[in-house]
Symmetry: C2
Subunit: 472 residues, 2 copies
């Protein structure tokens, strides 16, 4: 039995589009009304989640779209999943909603079990967790852990702070508030708070007008596609980029305490890099005592054909900190070295220290993925999808440039000729009942759920073919 | 009928303490086990939320404490509140848990109603909301809005960014990433992410080892108590502190774009300031074009005898941005000037843009507070409590110094002689069945829920009296 059939016996057979322009008239009215209290300008359409089912999202005009965007890559199992509804109705969940504890001071007796459910799917080599609330929050909490560890290495893990440190930090001055940097990559996206925006470098709109830490950006490899035909070029590109990273670490005006990277740069254009490149980063960070942080916020939870995307690379030793959010619903970071827990308590701390309601949901998601082997299934479906897209590419090479994500399950993207054409293409997909997202300026990114199957691939591919048939 | 009796027919009559040391043996075991996967060093005891009821929190040793700490001031209505349980079981909540939308792109049709429920209790003068996930997140989102507005004033609200701005921001350099400051106050607490930690200045443990923005700290008035007997001194203190604020704004090395302040500095010691001081800040921020942000994360939602604490001050015009979290369960900021929505969309934006599950709960909390007039009731209970504490103060002046929060409902605090004595006092309260928190170094802060009544006051005061009877 297919997983979609198991979860979603009433999933629509195909998209339904009842309007010619999207948003339709009812969505438009709702967007205008919502706009009086909320910034509704980025709204594509107003959804009807009661009527959404499986891989299909419904809107208030009665349209039903096959969803390959899935809430900006943050829905793992489709809409109205019965196992998650059951988790949402459980007494444990109701308690987590109504009695939200300050987890650091007054955890409930069920917290340990909740965390252990999450740890069952920790990345290879990781056995601790610290919980946060969003991707940006997870990355900034990871930076905190990294900076505390880095300074702890210098002064001694158990060494008390000096009076000078205590006094200077209250004035935001060194040595208590040291000048340290996190290195990241051009085209990276790690969030939009102040430290996370300082390592983000995909689009000006994320950053303009915000004061930022003056942290450096290295270059992420820019491969030529198809990979097989450009192996030598791409290998040289790895070496070039690794050299830039090491040079920055050695010469930056303040010490570089940490490096953060996505296994696939997602918001920045679905830019892939090789296992050799990631191992090279591990080597160079170890050599220079730099904390190695992998941001799995968008790539994690199965969509690349491995529970965590960086597991494809077999990085040895494993990364120091791995952050997560989005499809996991809960957020935070994984780690294995207990020295990433500072010697003094109350340093990595805040009122809530995460949200047990979202952790319970994450546990339920993890269980469904494991029990139903959804990662392997996504890989199979992704390979099938990639093959179909290669066929389309042969027919429409101008509109399917740099097709990428082979062997990465459904984590697939390609480029169009221009931003205008990409946007027009995405709009026409919607008009034909497919909700799909872009990334960077000219790319289409596919981010279906883990319940996306071959039958959904066929519908998607036929809509793409239909749109491309008269796409200029 | 009393509100506690209405909500909590089975609320315990009094605390139960079954152990001599806290944490008890079962808590100790659970803390040790939890410690293998989570930093459990700050845990006071492991709670049993199933058995917690109303104003009483239970632990795994069978102890039942009268709770005046309420999850670091973040539970509004007590434990296992039937109205909130009903909200948690609603189809709307289950949908919000299972189908977490990217609210900015694909809001559900119920979002407008959810937001309008929150706006019913917006601070006087505010009619817009932007939602976040925690107090630190709310403050940083407010900073983003403030910086965008401030730069928009300079370049023109509708003016496009220059090529130089677009290019420089990708390198974290001005003019795209401008050097701007937020002014805050010594002893302030606004969170522990990087920008929020840069405005926090209550304890080194919140800040040590984190790179910070080199933002200035003004002085928060340090009043002499009782206020009536020190009116002249305190008035001069207001003037002194206002002058410092204005001097910093005029002379700081980078432009000061925003000012953030708590209506009562909470974590930093329950430091109060007068309505005149707050009006003075409004005047000086207006004069210099500085965004005025009031942080109501801990003070909001009724505990001071007004739904939002700064409403006591009748600030005119109202603050530009008011942040909230904790007892509201949802987080974000209120505002009224539509220019705090940037001219271009996608600037104040992220994947989730808040959590509708927590917003639904906030709406239910707000409804209960309004329908049952809980703010007035808190005021009445607080006045009663303050009177009882004044009586104890007369008897034990050494252990009840600087009693403060008169006329601020249950938002009451006082000082002991030293940190050691404060900590010993709090521990002995626990041994006698009262869970209570501290703030700053030597203060006790009371943060009961809005269902705390005179009968609970009597129990609390009798335990304090018992502890103080042989307190050296």
């Amino acid at each position: 039995m297919s997983i979609a059939a198991k979860y979603y016996p009433n999933e629509p057979e195909q998209p339904v589009v009842k309007v010619t322009q999207i948003p339709g008239p009812e969505s438009k009215k709702a967007i205008e009304s919502l706009g009086k209290v909320f910034d509704s300008r980025p709204v594509y359409f107003v959804a009807d989640y009661e009527k959404s089912n499986g891989n299909y999202i419904a809107d208030v005009d009665g349209n039903v779209y096959l969803d390959l965007y899935a809430q900006i890559a943050s829905i793992a199992l489709g809409y109205n999943n019965p196992a998650l509804i059951e988790a949402a109705k459980s007494p444990e969940m109701i308690r987590a909603i109504v009695e939200r504890p300050a987890l650091g001071n007054f955890p409930g007796k069920d917290l340990e079990g909740i965390l252990k459910n999450l740890l069952k799917v920790a990345p290879k080599g990781q056995d601790h967790i610290w919980s946060g609330l969003s991707g940006a929050d997870a990355n900034e909490l990871a930076f905190k852990a990294a900076f505390m560890w880095y300074q702890g290495q210098k002064r001694g893990y158990n060494t008390a702070w000096t009076a000078e440190e205590n006094e200077s930090t209250m004035k935001n001055q060194a040595p208590g508030s040291p000048d340290l940097a996190v290195i990241s990559f051009k085209r990276a996206f790690h969030g939009r708070l102040f430290a996370s925006a300082s390592v983000t470098a995909s689009k000006p709109v994320h950053k303009i007008d915000l004061p930022s830490f003056k942290w450096p950006k290295a270059e992420f490899p820019a491969y030529k596609y198809p990979l097989e035909a450009n192996a030598e070029y791409n290998k040289a590109e790895d070496a070039r980029c690794l050299e830039i990273v090491e040079n920055i670490i050695k010469t930056w005006q303040v010490p570089v305490a940490a490096l953060i990277i996505e296994p696939v740069q997602s918001e920045g254009g679905d830019n892939h890099a090789s296992a050799e490149f990631f191992q090279g980063l591990r080597d160079v960070t170890l050599k220079h005592g730099v904390v190695f942080i992998v941001d799995e916020v968008q790539t994690g939870v199965g969509a690349t054909g491995s529970f965590w995307a960086h597991e494809h690379f077999n990085i040895t030793p494993p990364p120091d900190l791995v952050t997560f959010s989005k499809k996991f619903q809960s957020a935070g970071y994984w780690f294995h070295n207990p020295e990433f827990i500072p010697a003094a308590p109350y340093r990595q701390f805040n009122t809530w220290c995460g949200d047990p309601a979202r952790m319970i949901l994450a546990g339920a998601i993890a269980k469904e993925i494991v029990d139903n082997d959804l990662v392997s299934k996504a890989k199979e479906v992704g390979d099938y999808l990639y093959g179909k897209l290669e066929e389309l590419q042969a027919k429409y090479p101008r509109h399917l440039q740099n097709l990428r994500g082979k062997g990465r399950a459904t984590f697939i993207a390609w480029d169009l000729e221009s931003a205008e054409k990409r946007n027009e293409f995405l709009y026409r997909l919607k008009q034909n009942g497919v909700n799909c997202g872009g990334c960077a300026e000219v790319s289409v990114r596919l981010r279906p759920t883990l319940t996306f199957e071959k039958k959904h691939v066929d519908i998607f591919v036929s809509v793409v073919a239909k749109v491309l048939a008269d796409f200029v």
